[in-house]
Symmetry: C2
Subunit: 106 residues, 2 copies
């Protein structure tokens, strides 16, 4: 699996609008096992995203989907800066909607 | 919802063992909507965890479960240090096994 943990800093007052766009863009992305959008609790302008994909190719392909391209176009002016960005190799756990993931029993 | 994004640095050569313990401890935790364990791709000793819980109380309660306490006891000597630790407020996305989560259609 392939994944990302990233932080976005929204333009002033734009975090909720950015968040809505990020949530809608999670619709029907092939190979997407998890896409979790969260508010930072210490910085009122920041968001975190954790993404899990079948592989890097699935993630790259998602960026060409018309709805994702549209979301990126609308989100870009709401982003003041990009914070941390970590490429991860997810192994398993709970909450991965993946056929082959090492899913816990719970 | 309540969540955490955290980084663990394993003791030399102990990342895989630590990873196995973290994966098994995701079993049957009430109120746990996601618990994703991943390897860092740039540092061979580091792991990342993204956790999503119903609320902070669910997370706190999990730390008292016998299997979690046992896992913590076994994991502790394998951890060299704790890296970043971010408390997040998850809003929705894909991959949250939560009844009330703002789940995408896909």
């Amino acid at each position: 699996m392939y994944g990302l943990i990233g932080k976005f800093v929204a333009a002033p007052g734009k975090r909720e609008e950015l968040l809505s766009i990020l949530l809608e863009s999670t619709t029907a992305m092939p190979g997407c096992y998890a896409y979790i959008v969260a508010r930072d609790t210490t910085d009122a302008s920041s968001l975190w995203i954790t993404e899990v994909w079948e592989d890097e190719a699935s993630h790259r392909a998602s960026l060409s989907l018309p709805e994702v391209r549209d979301a990126i176009t609308r989100a870009r002016p709401l982003i003041e800066s990009f914070g941390e960005h970590h490429v991860i190799e997810p192994v398993g756990g709970h909450g991965l909607n993946a056929p082959g993931a090492s899913q816990a029993r719970g």
